[in-house]
């Protein structure tokens, strides 16, 4: 029984990676170009923005919230950042402006949710429309062009490794560290798992929620810089729907919508699964409509697989130790 227990534990802990490996194998069989350095680098580069957003969604979902405004805030932060660079020529300034703008938007989210008890869905939905409107208002609906050196963020490379991938790697390490090696990370799981129990256990839930949104803001801001510099334009209409992609990657990667469960590596794997899917379908020329159907079906399958392998965790443990001696003499009249 102990062996069976161990095997099912491994299955459930690594199930999403098994799916990822499975996908990679299938993809490499479907198209010989898939496993080439060029293609994989491409995929990683394409995934950088989405995965960074997915990390933001992940930490929010783990703590029982979510963010529907990510795509819009990304656009707002991005266009303001680009604009700042064109006005001042300062790359660092532009980078910080993007983060500042995104953090401010997310603090507003945090206030609505924490102080005014607005449901996260509604609050971030409102921010989604407001931020998008603000981006359009600022740019008068037009794209900002001629970015000059700004593109270095998304199109440059360091020692041959494209910058988006470096950003992604560094951020992955930081998020991993946050969730695993800090009290804040542990609190996220607790709050998402049972907020009232967390309060009753002495956790300052309000403060933690503010911190989570600030971190999300930093991630969204960085994503904004990477996005705009990749497309070489300040697109106020860019990244529409990206929050859904982030949510999907997090969920496919094992983050539970009901809170309290999720891992950095799982989300990374989830993002790669979806990204590889898109990539292989483009490589093999699958029709656009079919792509949508396939994508939806595979995401559903990945999530169902993941849920089933986790369900073992929740069945009641009835007997734990050896049975006791049943022989007992009784005098019954």
């Amino acid at each position: 029984m102990v062996e069976k227990f161990k095997k099912s534990k491994i299955m459930e802990k690594y199930s999403i990676f098994i799916v990822l490996i499975f996908m990679v194998v299938i993809c490499s069989l479907l198209d010989k170009n898939f496993l080439t350095k060029n293609n994989l680098t491409n995929v990683a580069r394409q995934l950088a923005v989405g995965t960074i957003l997915a990390y933001g969604e992940m930490i929010l979902i783990i703590s029982g919230m979510l963010d529907l405004s990510a795509g819009s805030v990304l656009a707002l932060a991005g266009v303001l950042s680009v604009s700042f660079y064109k006005a001042t020529g300062s790359l660092i300034g532009a980078f910080l402006i993007a983060i500042l703008v995104a953090v401010i938007c997310n603090l507003i989210n945090a206030v609505m949710i924490t102080n005014f008890k607005a449901p996260p869905f509604i609050a971030t939905l409102a921010m989604m429309t407001v931020a998008r409107g603000a981006a359009l208002l600022y740019t008068k609906g037009q794209n900002i062009l001629q970015l000059g050196k700004y593109v270095v963020f998304g199109q440059g490379d360091i020692l041959g490794i494209p910058t988006p991938i470096i950003f992604l790697a560094v951020i992955t390490v930081i998020i991993y560290y946050l969730l695993r090696h800090t009290a804040l990370g542990r609190s996220l799981y607790a709050i998402g798992g049972n907020e009232e129990a967390s309060i009753a256990s002495g956790i300052n839930v309000k403060l933690v929620k503010y911190k989570v949104f600030i971190i999300n803001g930093i991630l969204v801001g960085i994503a904004g810089v990477l996005f705009m510099s990749r497309v070489n334009a300040g697109l106020p209409n860019g990244a529409v729907g990206y929050e859904m992609e982030g949510l999907t990657a997090a969920i496919v990667g094992g983050t539970s919508f009901s809170g309290g469960i999720g891992t950095t590596m799982g989300t990374l794997a989830g993002s790669f699964i979806i990204g590889s899917l898109n990539n292989i379908m483009n490589l093999t020329g699958v029709d656009s409509y079919v792509q949508q159907i396939v994508k939806g079906a595979i995401i559903a399958l990945a999530v169902i697989w993941d849920i089933r392998s986790k369900s073992k965790k929740t069945s009641k443990v009835i007997l734990v130790e050896e049975k006791q001696d049943k022989q007992l003499n009784l005098n019954l009249n």
């Binding site: 798992g193 049972n194 007997l319 006791q324 049943k326």
Partner: protein, 494 residues
């Protein structure tokens, strides 16, 4: 009382992954009788009841009702056979109202099929009046205490005209007077020919009302006899497989000076004029009926709810407690009554549940000291005899008693001076109860203090040095150990 068999199960087997929960169970209940099931947590009683109620399907064996074989696929089918079950772990929807809950599944409809809310309201008001319950029909369940909800569930099941009612720990959350009301109802049901399966750890109650007693241990039936043929000690011995002598491990401990003084505590609309004190080494009890305000008082003391006015002094110094953090900083902790809602974090591991209030002990120096956490938590678990396959097991797969011990470990990790316990032994088997009492005594021996809210008078009388009694938000009486009697307590409580 007839010899006619109403319900019979034969050769029932049930296994879960890695565990055999029920092993060749034969069990029968006579018509119009109360049949008690006793056994430690995990012995199999709840599993068998879930099979009878259609929640689980047996791997083998047969169920007979009125000696006719039946297949029970789901609770709705069970209900059609006249089976009603009042579960131990109350699953309630906090946002649901009293009237919605009362008529769940059988909302009155008008001839168009729409819900007749007026009739629902009328029926509910009549019902609440008949049963003498002080609730409003549109009150949301989240405003009721666990005791209220349990009472409601019991009465609901009775009013649904079941012929077999399973009651799983029905008196765990209600007070003496309500227990008596319940027993009156049970007697009435017996006369009508209803059979009742009564699962309880409270053996004195069992012996009060049971006609037959069946004892489960480790998934099998170890004994099944008419109640008159057994003594309480026999049953305990059968349940645990060994003899237990001392139910309440109370010891004399040196009493020191005041560790906690509460003066003039007032929370608008909840409690008023609260004065009490606790000395080092004391175990203080808080008795009272459901709704007396005990839980509310302790929640305010612990920093979960606000106080309108009043003073709290710890170690003689006045302190301001405006959050749980403040309370913990003053070394005062509280184990909540409703562990589902305020206690456990269901999807996380037992280790994480135990360490959640002591995070700074394992997250410092820039990284997570996981080995330290495992050791520390593991030690406390060993001390308190927490039964769990591994430290990574999710807490919701543990039995109620073990969950409670994990939560206690969480607080003990903080090495508190004052331990507040709100109904700590509710729904817990004899063995685990004993361990919690021992813990209380150990605390007292070390010069710490314990405050226990309980609706189980024998428990209060057995373990406490002094008992405060509350009624309608005020402290109505204080009794010393040498004057403890159930009658005196009840007098102050009403």
């Amino acid at each position: 009382m007839s010899q006619e068999i109403k319900l019979r199960v034969s050769n029932i087997e049930k296994s879960f992954p890695g565990v055999k929960a029920l092993d060749k169970i034969d069990f029968s209940v006579r018509k119009g009788t109360v049949h008690a099931l006793c056994g430690e947590n995990g012995a199999g009683k709840s599993t068998l009841m879930k099979i009878i109620n259609g929640i689980y399907k047996p791997d083998a064996g047969q169920i007979f009702i009125d000696e006719k074989p039946v297949k029970i696929q789901n609770p709705i089918q069970a209900a059609s056979y006249g089976i009603a079950m009042i579960a131990q772990e109350l699953n309630y929807v906090p946002e649901m109202s009293v009237e919605e809950n009362l008529f769940l599944g059988r909302l009155p409809t008008n001839k168009f099929g729409k819900v007749d809310w007026k009739k629902l309201r009328r029926d509910t008001i009549k019902f609440l009046k008949d049963e003498d319950l002080p609730y409003e029909p549109d009150q949301k369940l989240k405003t009721l205490t666990v005791s209220d909800i349990q009472m409601l569930e019991i009465i609901k099941a009775i009013s649904n005209n079941a012929s077999i009612i399973v009651m799983d720990e029905p008196t765990s959350a209600i007070t003496q007077r309500e227990v008596e009301k319940l027993f009156e109802k049970i007697a009435m049901l017996k006369k009508k020919g209803v059979s009742i399966i009564y699962i309880s750890h409270k053996l004195d109650e069992v012996f009060q009302i049971a006609d037959d007693i069946t004892v489960f241990r480790d998934g099998t039936v170890v004994a099944s006899h008419p109640a008159k043929d057994l003594t309480m000690d026999d049953v305990i011995a059968l349940m645990v497989g060994r003899k237990i002598t001392n139910v309440y491990p109370k010891e004399e401990c040196p009493i020191g000076e005041n560790i906690l003084e509460v003066e003039n505590l007032y929370s608008k609309g909840v409690f008023k004029d609260i004065h009490f004190h606790v000395k080092k080494g004391e175990i203080i009890g808080f008795a009272g009926l459901v709704g007396a305000g005990r839980t509310e008082l302790m929640r305010s003391l612990f920093g979960l709810d606000p106080i309108t006015s009043g003073k709290i002094k710890i170690h003689g110094k006045e302190v301001k407690i405006e959050s749980v953090h403040d309370s913990i900083a003053n070394k005062m902790v509280m184990l909540s009554e409703d562990r589902r809602r305020y206690g456990i974090i269901p999807v996380r591991s037992v280790m994480e549940n135990a360490s959640i209030s002591s995070l700074q002990k394992f997250f410092y120096g820039g990284y997570w000291h996981s080995k330290q956490e495992k050791e520390m938590v593991g030690n406390y678990f060993k001390k308190m005899n927490v039964k769990t396959p591994t430290l990574e097991t999710t807490i919701q797969s543990l039995s109620g008693g073990n969950q409670q011990k994990v939560l206690l470990a969480k607080w003990m990790l903080l090495e508190p001076d004052i331990l507040i316990l709100d109904e700590p032994t509710r729904g817990i088997d004899v063995g685990a109860k004993f361990e919690i009492y021992k813990l209380m005594t150990d605390m007292a021996k070390q010069g710490k203090s314990v405050i226990m809210i309980s609706s189980e008078l024998p428990e209060l009388i057995g373990m406490c040095d002094r008992i405060y009694v509350m009624n309608k938000g005020r402290i109505t009486g204080e009794l010393q150990r040498d004057e403890f009697t159930q009658e005196k307590i009840m007098k102050f409580a009403t």
